[in-house]
Subunit: 372 residues, 2 copies
């Protein structure tokens, strides 16, 4: 065996043809240009020599790196691993590979990573980072770089995107709480620079209105980031305000977990004193102290759809811009309970059945906690 990996010239020599012919014979696109006989001969030689085309040389020539950049805030956020897996699986099936970068919601870091990836000549970008109106999109558009937005939208430019229907999801959360009898419902809003934060707030307001509930601005706290700490801070802040509340809808599971800590510190019980509902249905969130009720969307599929959209953009150049929404799904768990003094039956909605195809983690049917 050769210590040096077989090159196209070796294959060509073995098949007694010119390297150019070997190239055409091996490329499915151009195989029709060579006779069937020689194509077979070349293929045989390639197989015999264990030939593997050098993607670096190919990239240099074709100006296609078959890599895409994926920018996310932080891989440690349990929301992202399934999404990233969906992305990578889909991309890998098409011969692409993802370079992922964690921006930590830092604009400078984001800029650095973006430039670095552009220097590496990625064929496209999937942006799941939070900031809404930034210059990166303009640059990418100017450079004709395919970009797909994930879980965010952009009004300035029109980019393909795939995201969950956040307004609808927030409405569903509010509706659930309202049906349990809650009227004073608080909201911990996400960062308003993020489209998820803004649209979930809209959905919250809309849902309250449609149930004839007053939206008291005192019952809305604005978090600066999607973290447990921020959730705790906001919840504590809400508890200090006058009026009080019996339920809180958080814009995100992380923020909801923060509520747990804040309620704990205040000596309050969830769900007996305060019902809590989150958003995202992060892995393992169903195993928390009271299992967290939340709004689920198919994480893995979000990734595959984003990959699909990007591949279409890369392949066909510019077609129609597709904006895709995935339907959210209410998941009722033990962190919400009927308002004290109501009949138990008020809370007996059927919990949605877990039916995401690829999330391999155990979703054992968690029993609803009994209200007392």
């Amino acid at each position: 065996m050769p210590d040096r990996p077989a090159t196209l010239r070796d294959v060509a020599a073995a098949a007694r043809v010119h390297p150019a012919t070997a190239s055409r014979a091996l490329n499915p696109e151009t195989r029709i240009l060579v006779s069937e006989d020689t194509a077979r001969r070349v293929s045989a030689a390639a197989a015999r020599l264990g030939y593997r085309p050098n993607p670096v040389a190919r990239s240099l020539r074709t100006r296609r790196s078959h890599t895409v950049g994926v920018l996310i805030p932080d891989l440690n956020n349990p929301l992202f691993p399934p999404i990233v897996r969906g992305l990578e699986d889909k991309l890998a099936a098409a011969g692409y590979v993802a370079l992922l970068g964690n921006t930590d919601a830092d604009a400078n870091r984001e800029r650095m990573i973006f430039d670095q990836m552009r220097a590496r000549h990625v064929d496209g970008f999937v942006l799941a980072t939070a900031t809404m109106h930034d210059q990166l999109l303009a640059e990418a558009a100017a450079a004709d770089l395919p970009v797909v937005l994930m879980n965010r939208l952009s009004q300035d430019y029109s980019f393909p995107s795939v995201s969950v229907d956040n307004e609808q999801g927030a409405r569903m959360a509010v509706t659930h709480l309202a049906r349990l009898g809650h009227t004073r419902i608080a909201h911990i809003a996400g960062p308003q620079e993020a489209s998820t934060g803004a649209s979930r707030l809209r959905g919250f307001r809309d849902g309250m209105a449609s149930h004839g509930l007053e939206v008291n601005e005192d019952l809305i706290a604005y978090s600066a980031r999607y973290t447990v700490e921020e959730g705790a801070r906001c919840c504590t802040e809400l508890l200090a305000r006058p009026g009080g509340f019996t339920a809180v809808a958080a814009a995100n599971d992380m923020l909801a977990v923060g509520c747990y800590t804040a309620l704990d510190d205040a000596g309050l019980q969830c769900p007996d004193d305060v019902s809590v509902i989150g958003f995202n249905d992060m892995p393992f969130i169903d195993r928390l102290k009271p299992p967290l009720a939340t709004v689920r969307f198919p994480h893995y599929q979000l990734g595959t759809e984003a990959a699909q959209l990007l591949l279409e953009r890369i392949g066909e150049g510019d077609g129609p811009v597709k904006i895709m929404y995935l339907a959210p799904e209410l998941v009722v768990r033990g962190s919400t309970a009927p308002l004290a003094g109501l009949t138990r039956a008020a809370g007996q909605e059927a919990a949605a059945q877990p039916s995401n195809p690829p999330v391999p983690l155990d979703h054992a049917p968690s029993r609803r906690a009994r209200g007392r």
Copy 2:
């Protein structure tokens, strides 16, 4: 501005030198070969044109892709995101980028991904996949490909590796349970093809022996994979065997979570009826129903150290093979309690202080559950 990105020839032309000279002037290694004056001129021209070296062309020439392959079982396992971040951060600082592949503990998939990455000419590998004696290592060694093992060892070949001291960690878990008064301690072993599974089992046996406790084979169940389901299956199996037990040390947090489900299904309370301790201190594991006691190791640092070792291998060719162990740390939480009938004081060990630098998730000091 040029629609076409500036190339080295453009820079050379702007500085009135030959491209070769420009190349040498810009490369820190070879800068001494050109006069200081021209070096300055070239640098100025490069800056003015916004020149970014084309990494593809450079890779083709230098046979260095500045990419490394990272193979892990499954990104959805919460253990891995912090590790991967450590890896990527360290690699990025050195100008490298990680291509990560999820093997799903499937040998065929692993083989495919490995080949694909080799085809992409990665400069090295970080292998965190579980199977111990495989052919991939032999191939990599034969091809002189730098390889670093993460959380696994190989006796056949000598590869650099970084992992937690699994035996010591398992001993610490057993010691903790023994000090609480438990004598009948069960073990849910990890897959024995994985070095973690084997060494934690050794540590368990060793710990039991050093406390003068009998290691009954009936109290050891072997899981096929590190999953919640397998943990539940094994725990149920243990419960069905004669003799009984009052504490269980799982080889992994996932398996421990499975114990929760199994105990729940059997109508048993943790920690009142059975104490449970895990291994890894996965993110969010401190927020479970009873917060899970476990053995922690610095995840992020595991990643950075692996990256460091790999970079050394890549840079300096072959030096001494370093085998690095990170010290584990016992984390006592509410899932373990003194054996019923003992004095409370027996369980009053000080909980280890959380002091990992980079794990940004909230580790609120979880109060120990009171044994009754």
